[in-house]
C-alpha cells in the first residue's frame, strides 16, 4: 500500500493567535501504538507522549525525536542560573508569533503568562505581533528572537548590547539564542506536518 495524507474536513481551525488550549491534527499517519518497539519508546522519552498524535508521528524516526526532546527540555526546564523561565517562554512565543505557528504560540504564550503573571502583555504580543511595546526588557528579548528567526539571520552585537542593558548576563543571552533557535525547529515541524484545531 502506498502512503497517503490524512484530511480533517470540517474541523474548527483557529484563525487568530490565542492562549487557549488547542489540539493538533496530523496530515500523515502517526505510528499505531502496537507498532512501538523499545527503540520507539526510548525516542518518546516520556511514555505519556504516546497519547499525542504529534509525537507518535515523529516517533517514526525515534532517534532524532529522542535527541530533539532532550535538547528541548534542557533549554526550557534547566533553570539553574541564566534566563528566568518566563522569558525563555516569551522568546518561544515571539518566535512562534513571527513564524506564524498558531499552535506553538498558544502553548508558549500560556506558559509565559503562567510563569510571569503578565497575561495581558503576552496577549498584546499575540494580538499585535512582534513590534509591540511591552516594556524594554521584554522588547529586547522579542527583538533578539525576531532577528535570529529571520532568514537570513540579522542578529548582531547591537541585539546583545540591548539585552545586556536590561540586565542579561552571558548565560541569559545564550538562553535567548537557544530558546529562539529551538522554536525555529519546533515551528517548522508543527506547521508542516499537521494543523491546529479548536477543541469542542
Amino acid at each position: 500500500m502506498t502512503d497517503a495524507t490524512v484530511s480533517h474536513i470540517g474541523h474548527d481551525a483557529p484563525v487568530a493567535f490565542t492562549q487557549r488550549e488547542l489540539e493538533w491534527l496530523p496530515w500523515l499517519e502517526p505510528l499505531p501504538a502496537e507498532a512501538l518497539t523499545d527503540r520507539h519508546w526510548a525516542g518518546l522519552v516520556d511514555a505519556s507522549r504516546a497519547k499525542s498524535p504529534y509525537f507518535m508521528l515523529l516517533a517514526r524516526d525515534p532517534d532524532i525525536l529522542g535527541a530533539r526532546t532532550r535538547t528541548d527540555k534542557d533549554i526550557f526546564y534547566n533553570t539553574s542560573a541564566g534566563l528566568p523561565r518566563p522569558e525563555r517562554e516569551l522568546s518561544a512565543a515571539a518566535t512562534s508569533r513571527f513564524n506564524g505557528c498558531i499552535y506553538c504560540a498558544s502553548v508558549h504564550a500560556r506558559f509565559a503568562s503562567h510563569f510571569s503573571k503578565r497575561t495581558e502583555d503576552v496577549q498584546h504580543l499575540l494580538d499585535d505581533g512582534v513590534g509591540v511595546d511591552i516594556g524594554e526588557r521584554w522588547n529586547a528579548i522579542v527583538a533578539a528572537s525576531v532577528a535570529l528567526t529571520s532568514t537570513p539571520m540579522y542578529f548582531r552585537a547591537a541585539h546583545i548590547e540591548r539585552l545586556r542593558a536590561v540586565g542579561l548576563d552571558d548565560l541569559s543571552v545564550a538562553d535567548v539564542i537557544n530558546s529562539a533557535a529551538f522554536f525555529n525547529w519546533a515551528n517548522r515541524l508543527m506547521l508542516s506536518l499537521g494543523e491546529p484545531d479548536v477543541p469542542k
Binding site: D3, A16, W27, L57, R60, N99, A174
Partner: protein, 196 residues
C-alpha cells in the same frame, strides 16, 4: 570533548563560550546527538546519505550562513560531486528572505505576505526525489505557514514515504535550529564580555 557546534563556531576547550555551553550540558550533548542521528544514523531509514546532505547543503546555503554551509557542501561533494554542483546552483538561484506566507482566512489575513513558491530548474541532475525535497525545504525555511497536506502529497507523489517525510522534515527543521545557534554564538563570541 568538542562537538560539531564548537567546530562551526570556533570554540576551544576552556573558552568563555565552552564554559557557557557546559552550563547547559544536556542540551549541548543532545544537539550533538541530534546531528549524529541525522547525519550518522544507526540505520539509514527512508532517506539516503546523498539525500540528507543534498537537503542540508540547500538549507544551510539559503540561510547565507558562511560558518555552516561549507561544512555540509563538502560532505555532499565527497559523496557525489555532480549532485553537489547542481545543489549549489539551486542555492545560488534563491534570493528570498523570510518568514513570509499566508494565515488561515480571518483577522490575520491583513498580515498575509504572499511570496515565491520555489521550483528547482535542474530536475535531471537532482532526480525526482531530491527535486521535491528541495522545493519542500524552501517552503519550510522561508514560508512554513503556507504548509498544507497538499505539499505533503507532492512529496508522496515524488516517491517519499511517510517515515521519509518525517526524517526529511526533521532534517530541515534541525538545520534551521543549528544555523541559528551557530550564528548566535558567533555573535556572542566576539561581543565584549559582560563584567558588571
Amino acid at each position: 570533548m568538542s562537538d560539531v557546534i564548537d567546530r562551526l563556531v570556533g570554540i576551544e576547550p576552556g573558552d568563555r563560550l565552552d564554559i557557557l555551553r557546559q552550563a547547559r550540558l544536556v542540551a549541548r550533548e543532545n544537539m550533538q546527538a541530534s546531528y549524529l542521528a541525522l547525519f550518522e544514523p544507526a540505520n539509514e531509514g527512508d532517506v539516503t546519505p546523498r539525500e540528507r546532505y543534498a537537503v542540508a547543503t540547500f538549507v544551510t546555503g539559503v540561510h547565507r550562513e558562511d560558518a555552516v554551509a561549507p561544512f555540509y557542501a563538502e560532505g555532499l561533494a565527497t559523496l557525489d560531486a555532480e549532485l553537489a554542483e547542481a545543489v549549489a546552483a539551486e542555492v545560488a538561484d534563491v534570493g528570498t528572505t523570510g518568514p513570509y506566507g499566508s494565515f488561515p482566512p480571518g483577522p490575520l489575513s491583513i498580515e498575509d505576505a504572499p511570496g515565491l513558491r520555489f521550483t528547482v530548474t535542474r530536475h535531471e541532475a537532482l532526480g525526482r526525489r531530491i527535486s521535491a525535497a528541495l522545493e519542500h525545504a524552501h517552503m519550510l525555511v522561508f514560508h512554513p505557514r503556507d504548509a498544507s497536506a497538499v505539499w505533503l502529497q507532492g512529496l508522496l507523489d515524488a516517491g517519499w514515504s511517510t517515515t521519509g517525510i518525517v526524517t526529511q522534515s526533521q532534517l530541515v527543521a534541525f538545520l534551521a535550529f543549528q544555523v541559528r545557534v551557530v550564528h548566535g554564538l558567533r555573535v556572542l563570541a566576539v561581543s565584549e564580555r559582560n563584567t558588571s
